[in-house]
């Protein structure tokens, strides 16, 4: 640290000695039309060779005669001339030049750079692309739009977490989500998981859901490590840099603008299975009060006994005989759900004068899901301002507050003991169950269903078993910048982002869960992050054809969180859901965790004649979570961009080509408190306290982990920007992972943290834009993106062959596996590992001669790869005058999925897949020994299976659905989705000329209108986008999740 202080001090001495005795100067600032400042703008005195450029804050200082004229030119903007006319301050706003090709992009730490100078991939998404699409989740609205970004939705209920991943997985256990920066401050995007999502738990949201998409001015996706390295440890997964409207105000923006946007959408379940309505519950064509619809054919039995739970609860509601008609209830699933709604209103007011500007946003979203009692509300306000003080210091500040409230019910795998999933039976109701036609709770408020012991009536569960999360997020930051000399400026920003969550989970009296006695969990989680960045920018005049830009900086980051969870058991007074209203309370956890980090960093960028640009960065971090000896670590990056058109002197209007290459390394530290073994103090047992060693063995010698990233690519535009291609190839190697090695439990520990393992991610990204037709008022455009990434476990540690990435169920879990002795190499990250059916050496299934069903294999293995082979997004738009029509289709090829919904639909015999059931089946294969899993040989030969089984047995036995080995419960998740269709209309300005209204846009939009998963069992209509684990590292596993949604909406935007 002392070195840096010295360095800074030296710099100041230098500055203060140089900057003295200057003559009259013109100063000013150059901004774009949207108010953002423009660095690197060339300023020339007309008719002379004298000139300068703007600095990183868009400012310039220039000596010029009062009668001179300044010429401002910058790529992507129209060149503008302004007479000085005795002014000492000339602020100017440049107009976009549509004929020009390139733009200014925001890179790490908010530094703006000419896109031509970048040797790595940065994708920009405009705020307007994120709204007007009937999608309240800012991440979901990115789906299919940015190459290299993989976005996966979770549960289909409002506010549920969305998973985002850029260029694959770099960490076995750490977060693989990108760093999210909002207005310069990291934005905690944690999914706070209160109850295990295997055995219960809600459709938890992630932190970003508190950000209002209406307030987003732009999103920049920094994909590779080279782009994000300066953000430090968390940037190995890339970074998403979001600028809000209130956070982007800058001085010089004149006038007042008021924008209103409002939208309304309806939401329904995207699709339901095609149910069979020929057979009711039971087995072997005989009626029984069972779960499976394998019973008697409708019409073959006149009436059946009323379900005992219903009869007991409502004796007067049924015929005296105790019997009711035996008939199909075709809409029994559909009728469980409702039509949800999304209401979204937002007002943005901005304005300013020469010196100051201010922007405020106020929004409110109300989203009710298709599942009764599920909803998500978000209210947010944001205020940002900027002013230039008389002494030249520019001060910026912004503040935002948002409040969200998510409500919903319990999910999970109902077969886990004590669980009470509200989706336990919903999609596979017995075909003769009339859930909505009958009451769902008795006089005491207890749930009633066809079998209350096995599942809670979903209508009751949605009302009584609730998960409510309330988030409050406050962000605030202050920044100052000052131009010391025209070529040297400094800036400082400090901000805080505090997020607090209160969650209450209730399993009500009478539920299947908690023994019917009721339980309440209350979770409090507060995360605070303070970030401070100090930057000194060097922006000297070009020396000949060389142009140099550089900065050095210092970063302090302090994070801490508090995590409390208390369970109250046995609700005393019904209907009151507070901890004191429970008989006993257990403090599950109360943790306070701190983490701190310092970094110093710098960048030097050298351009040669606008042809080649070389940028080198370096950063050194000191982290509190590593042992003192290994606490400091350094990582560099280098990138090169070559402008081919300029190199060969081709006019950029006809051809623009850029080649880019970069290599970067990013380090990452450990989780706090990973260096010391601890004990867990247990709850009292028979009044006796006790403590147990914590089974995760610490390691006092951890070192930082590193990801190395290499990228090459090209950007090409031809035909006056009508065809553009952006191509990137990358290879990332993550080494020395700080990850727990799963230990054999016979060591006495579950895991130990070490530095080991190599993960590679290799991928291709293609972004193709094409405008086939373009006339005066008409344009037809295409945009295609292609993302392919392969995440491979290249190596673990000698002796380590398998690591469990997470525990899900004994039969299925995501793993990292590398076992060259058994020939198991090149396995994907998160490979699904589970039990297998026995096969002979040729891969034929082995059949149990006694049952005609399959035999479990002795050894388990990898049963699926949850990562898609590739993803594509294909969008097209037609614009005619003020009308535009846009559509987006995205496609996911491959990826495997373990689906409880699909196997239950088949195993319960409720869909048309199993309707044709009056035949018997012989599974192709050979007889095997159920003890050994080996073929039975008669005279040395295998015996073909001839044992027939029923259709019921084919899906309910140890065969191909719920009671099968894991390998038979894996499906290919290939998916086509018509993601967005929107039609919008801008009212002609002429119509509005005499009103105070500046512009009106009306649009209608549809979201997720259609999908096709061609490799799923046909009539299940299952959408493999459903997932149970939100934004965690677990993918490809679905445990009775809520299906995806479809929305139709109308949107209005008015500006004044």
């Amino acid at each position: 640290m002392r070195k840096i202080l010295l360095f800074c001090f030296a710099a100041f001495v230098l500055i203060s000695t140089q900057v003295s005795g200057q003559d009259l100067t013109v100063t000013g600032m150059v901004a774009a039309e949207d108010g953002s400042v423009l660095p690197g703008v060339s300023i020339a005195l007309k008719g002379t060779s004298r000139g300068t450029t703007t600095n990183g804050d868009g400012k310039f200082t220039f000596e010029a005669p009062a009668n001179g004229t300044l010429v401002f030119s910058f790529i992507g903007f129209q060149t503008q001339e302004t007479p000085i006319g005795n002014r000492s301050v000339v602020n100017i706003s440049l107009k976009n030049d549509v004929s020009q090709l390139q733009e200014v992009v925001v890179t790490a730490l908010g530094i703006k750079r000419d896109a031509r100078a970048l040797g790595y991939s940065v994708a920009r998404v405009d705020g307007s692309e994120l709204v007007r699409k009937s999608e309240p989740d800012p991440l979901k609205s990115l789906m299919g739009k940015v190459a290299g970004v993989d976005i996966r939705s979770g549960q289909g209920t409002p506010g549920a977490a969305t998973k985002i991943n850029i260029r694959g997985n770099t960490s076995l256990f750490g977060s693989n989500e990108p760093l999210i920066i909002v207005d310069g401050i990291p934005y905690n995007n944690t999914q706070v998981t209160t109850s295990s999502q295997t055995s219960g738990g809600g459709a938890y949201g992630n932190g970003l859901s508190s950000l209002d998409p209406n307030d987003i001015a732009s999103m920049n996706v920094l994909k590779g490590a080279a782009a994000a390295a300066l953000y430090g440890s968390r940037a190995s997964n890339g970074a998403i840099v979001i600028t809000t409207k209130s956070g982007s105000s800058s001085p010089g923006k004149k006038g007042i603008e008021v924008n209103y946007s409002g939208s309304f959408a309806t939401e329904t379940i995207a699709n339901l299975p095609d149910y069979q309505n020929l057979y009711g519950t039971g087995s072997s064509f005989t009626y029984a009060n069972a779960n499976g619809s394998w019973g008697a054919k409708f019409g073959s039995v006149d009436s059946v006994a009323v379900w005992p739970n219903y009869l007991t609860a409502f004796p007067g509601s049924f015929p005296k005989s105790g019997n009711i008609a035996y008939k199909a209830v075709p809409n029994n699933v559909k009728d469980l759900f409702r039509t949800g709604q999304v209401w979204d209103n937002s007002v943005n007011i901005s304005g300013g004068n020469d010196k100051s500007s201010v922007s405020a946003t106020m929004s409110f979203l109300k989203h009710s899901g298709y599942v009764p009692n599920s909803g998500f509300n978000r209210g947010s306000i944001g205020l940002g301002g900027s002013t230039k003080l008389a002494n030249g210091l520019i001060m910026n500040g912004n503040f935002s507050y948002s409040h969200t409230n998510q409500s919903g019910s319990v999910f999970g795998e109902n077969q886990v003991d004590g669980a009470s999933s509200s989706f336990a039976r919903n999609l596979f109701l017995g075909r003769n169950w009339d859930i909505t036609g009958l009451p769902y709770e008795d006089a005491k408020g207890n749930p009633v269903s066809t079998n209350s012991a096995q599942y809670d009536n979903p209508l009751w569960a949605w009302k009584h078993n609730t998960v409510n999360s309330v988030n409050d997020r406050v962000t605030g930051n202050v920044s100052m910048s000052y131009e010391i000399t025209p070529w040297l400026s400094s800036s400082y920003r400090i901000g805080v982002n505090q997020y607090s969550l209160f969650r209450r989970e209730v399993v009500d009296l009478g539920s299947r869960g908690s023994g019917g006695l009721g339980a309440i969990k209350e979770a409090n989680y507060t995360n605070k992050e303070v970030e401070s960045n100090f930057l000194i920018n060097f922006n000297p005049k070009p020396i000949g054809k060389f142009d140099l830009k550089a900065f050095v900086g210092h970063n302090v980051n302090a994070r801490d969180y508090r995590d409390q969870l208390t369970t109250g058991n046995q609700i005393v007074a019904p209907g009151i859901y507070s901890l004191p209203n429970t008989k006993t309370q257990v403090a599950d956890r109360s943790n306070y965790v701190q983490k701190r980090l310092w970094g110093v960093f710098g960048e030097i960028s050298v351009g040669y004649d606008d042809i080649a640009f070389l940028t080198v960065t370096g950063r050194n971090d000191w982290s509190s979570t590593l042992p003192k000896a290994n606490r400091s670590y350094f990582y560099p990056s280098a990138s090169l961009a070559v402008n081919v058109s300029r190199l060969f002197n081709v006019p950029e209007e006809t051809f623009y080509g850029k080649l880019k290459a970069s290599v970067a390394k990013v380090g990452r530290d450990a989780n706090p408190y990973s260096l010391q073994n601890t004990y867990q103090v247990n709850t009292p047992f028979n009044g006796q306290s006790s403590a147990s060693i914590y089974p995760s063995a610490a390691n006092p010698n951890l070192k930082p982990e590193f990801t190395t990233d290499q990228e090459i690519g090209a950007e090409v535009w031809v035909l006056k920007k009508r065809v553009g291609l952006d191509l990137a190839l990358y290879k990332r190697i993550s080494k020395n992972q700080i990850a727990p090695i799963t230990l054999p439990r016979s060591t006495g520990f579950d895991e130990t943290f070490e530095n080991f393992g190599v993960i590679s991610n290799k991928g291709v990204e293609v972004d193709l834009k094409f405008i086939p037709l373009q006339f005066k008022d008409f344009e037809w455009n295409f945009h295609l993106i292609y993302t392919k990434n392969k995440s491979i476990i290249e190596e673990l540690k000698p002796g380590v062959t398998l690591i469990e990435l997470a525990g899900v169920l004994t039969d299925i879990k995501p793993v990292a596996i590398y076992d060259p002795d058994k020939g198991i190499t090149k396995q994907p990250y998160g490979a699904l590992y589970g039990t297998k059916s026995a096969r002979d050496s040729e891969g034929n299934l082995l059949i149990n001669p006694t049952t005609g069903e399959l035999i479990p294999a002795i050894e388990p293995g990898v049963v699926g790869n949850p990562n898609p082979d590739y993803k594509m997004g294909f969008s097209t738009g037609i614009k005619y005058k003020g009308i535009s029509l846009n559509a987006l289709v995205d496609y996911t090829h491959g990826g495997d999925m373990y689906s409880v919904t699909v196997t239950s639909l088949l195993g319960r015999g409720v869909t048309r897949d199993t309707e044709d059931r009056e035949t018997s089946w012989v599974i192709p294969g050979y007889y095997g020994d159920a003890n050994t899993g080996e073929p039975i040989l008669v005279d040395g030969k295998k015996v073909p299976n001839t044992t027939a089984i029923s259709t019921n047995g084919l899906y309910f036995g140890q065969t191909f659905a719920i009671n099968s080995e894991t390998d038979m419960q894996i499906y290919d998740a290939t998916l086509w989705t018509l993601r967005e269709v929107s039609l919008s209309y801008d009212l002609p300005k002429k119509l509005l000329a005499k009103t105070p209204i500046g512009g009106v846009n009306i649009s209608v939009s549809g979201r997720n209108l259609w999908y096709l998963a061609p490799n799923m069992p046909k009539y299940t209509n299952f959408n493999p986008e459903s997932a149970s684990f939100g934004s965690s590292n677990i993918s490809g596993i679905e445990l009775s999740a809520a299906p995806t949604t479809r929305r139709f909406g109308v949107n209005l935007r008015v500006s004044f």
């Binding site: 019917g516 302090v556 010391q676 601890t678 004990y679 006796q688 306290s689 060693i693 149990n848 003890n931």
Partner: protein
């Protein structure tokens, strides 16, 4: 300009206004890094019992008895253990193994429950601090725990287990042969006995209420250790001559478990939260219940079995089983096996009614095995609070020690009258029922000394008198099996050692002629006459050991390949 420098220096000071301690904040303020041994002992004891009894996820127990009670035909289930189908991925097998060696996080409480690693730390800390009473208890617990593991799996990690945090830092423990482990366990028991009786140790800490087995009673610990030794010698009697050792132990009966209260029993409580109930109570609060009473077990106790205790009804039945239905009640669904109010399903059943829900009418574990409800014949459906769950887990009882003695006499390895000891054992088994119900259901009637009890003891003694030595062994083992209900590891061991009690076999032509088994005639009062015969099947041979848990095999390169359970035997298994 000067002003600007002041600004910049100010922010620089803010940005760097940090001391050397800024980064030194990485000590966990939430959890202790050291703990007293009197906190570790109860933890280790909880860990041991959580993995040996029944499973109840909700109260963080993954017990191997849930599988073995099916394998010893005390329970029937529709889950994996049916037809001996529990594989290396079966969750009780994985869960109980893991919890034995390493603490496992409870599902619904913040607790970590585990035995051997805590025992290892306990012994080391206790020896280092001169608290040898704790050290000795740790050694006895460790020896007992490993004997269980060998009995269940044959070969297990022993010499290299729980050595990760030692100098050797063993990450991949090798599996030791069971016959190499047993002698070390006997030595460990001797060392434990020596430690608890050590007169020179400082013993600044003395176990008391933190000892959940004996509340710090050293005499009883010594009795338990000696009785464990007796049990182990008995178990290996077919592999070598153990007559000297057993005679020496039996010569001082006062040093063995000699009363009901001496038994190695783990007391559970009746608190719902924090939950300290016997995990076997799980089916009472559960909506969906999975533990059916095996009709085989039930029919032997009823005296229905044509080859053992025929016609002798066991007075313990209302303590053993709780019927949720009256004899003439209406079942929830069609039943597979019904005998008045008793409702269950068969092992190996492929009958139509096997999968029909009977949660509200099936017969459940009663007060003796689970702390459930004493069967007052009311036929009421249970609720979460019908019983207390406060039945102790009986690992090694006075009755067990008497059955062992009877077996040793029967085998000619000990002297005395087998009949006398057998009668004493059955009498003690009945007293034990009273002991348990006294804790779990104080209002339940007492059994010992009643006419029914006396009649039963007389009848089974008379049966014993009238048969040959081999059949007598079957009777000893069958009575021991009945008495054990609630803890099934030793019964699994006994069956594999002796072949007794005879277990139900769907492929046996007398038990299930033509693949069908006949439930009691007139067992269903609503539909008098013969109940429909139930088709049963079994495609696997009896598992001589359990498969090793996949969670161990997949991550331990030192582990052997998965075994074929029907042929892989424990070293003492000579059948």
């Amino acid at each position: 300009m000067k002003k600007s420098i002041i600004y910049i220096v100010a922010v620089l000071i803010m940005a760097t206004g940090c001391t050397k301690e800024f980064l030194d904040i990485n000590t966990d303020p939430n959890n202790p890094t050291d703990i007293a041994i009197n906190q570790l002992l109860p933890s280790a004891e909880r860990g041991l019992t959580a993995v040996l009894g029944y499973t109840n996820d909700a109260r963080s127990a993954r017990g191997i008895s849930t599988v073995l009670a099916v394998y010893t035909h005390q329970l029937s289930q529709r889950e994996d253990p049916d037809q001996y189908g529990a594989t290396g991925s079966e969750f009780n097998i994985n869960g109980s193994w893991k919890g034995m060696y390493s603490p496992q996080q409870a599902q619904t409480s913040p607790d970590y429950i585990g035995c051997l690693q805590n025992v290892e730390i306990l012994i080391a800390k206790a020896e280092a601090s001169g608290n040898l009473k704790y050290a000795g208890m740790g050694k006895i617990l460790k020896a007992y725990a490993f004997s269980m593991m060998v009995d269940i799996y044959g070969d297990v990690p022993f010499t290299e287990a729980n050595k990760f945090t030692t100098e050797a830092a063993i990450k991949y423990p090798k599996f030791d042969k069971g016959d190499a482990i047993y002698p070390q366990l006997l030595a460990l028991l001797d060392a434990g006995i020596a430690d608890i009786n050590n007169k020179t140790a400082t013993n600044s800490l003395v176990p008391a209420a933190d000892d959940l087995f004996y509340a710090g009673n050293i005499t009883r610990w010594e009795k338990a250790a000696n009785t464990i030794k007796l049990k182990l010698y008995n178990q290996i009697r077919l592999t070598k001559d153990v007559s000297t050792e057993v005679k020496a132990l039996l010569a001082t009966p006062a040093k063995l478990i000699a009363s009901t209260a001496d038994g190695l029993m783990f007391n559970y409580g009746s608190s719902i939260s924090p939950d300290d109930r016997n995990p076997a109570y799980a089916d009472y609060p559960a909506g969906q219940k999975s533990n059916y009473i095996s009709p085989w077990f039930y029919s032997i106790m009823k005296g229905y079995n044509p080859s053992i205790f025929t016609g002798v009804a066991d007075p313990r039945i209302p303590f053993y089983f709780y019927k949720q239905m009256t004899p003439t009640g209406a079942p929830q669904n069609k039943t597979e096996y019904r005998d008045g109010g008793f409702v269950s399903i068969y092992f190996g059943s492929v009958g139509n009614n096997r999968n029909a829900s009977q949660d509200a009418t099936m017969t459940l574990l009663g007060v003796y095995p689970a702390g459930g409800k004493y069967d007052d014949q009311s036929g009421a459906k249970v609720t979460a609070t019908s019983g207390t769950g406060a039945a102790p887990l009986r690992l090694l009882t006075y009755a067990d020690r008497l059955y062992i003695e009877a077996e040793l006499i029967n085998a000619g390895l000990a002297t005395g009258s087998a009949k006398t000891v057998y009668t004493k054992a059955v009498t003690e088994s009945i007293a034990l029922v009273d002991y348990v119900s006294g804790k779990a259901a104080p209002t339940a009637p007492k059994l010992a000394g009643t006419a029914d009890a006396t009649k039963y003891i007389t009848a089974v003694t008379a049966k014993f008198d009238s048969v040959a030595t081999t059949k007598q062994l079957e009777m000893i083992m069958t009575q021991k099996w009945i008495s054990s209900f609630g803890f099934s590891v030793d019964q699994y061991t006994d069956y594999r050692r002796t072949g007794y009690p005879v277990m139900f076999d769907p492929n046996d032509k007398t038990m299930a002629p033509g693949g069908f088994v006949q439930p009691p005639i007139n067992g269903d009062p609503i539909l008098p006459g013969a109940q429909a015969p139930v088709p049963v099947q079994l495609s696997r041979a009896y598992p001589r050991t359990l498969p090793w848990p996949l969670d161990e095999l997949t991550v331990n390169p030192s582990a052997p390949s998965q075994k074929v359970p029907s042929t892989f035997k424990v070293f003492w298994d000579k059948k």
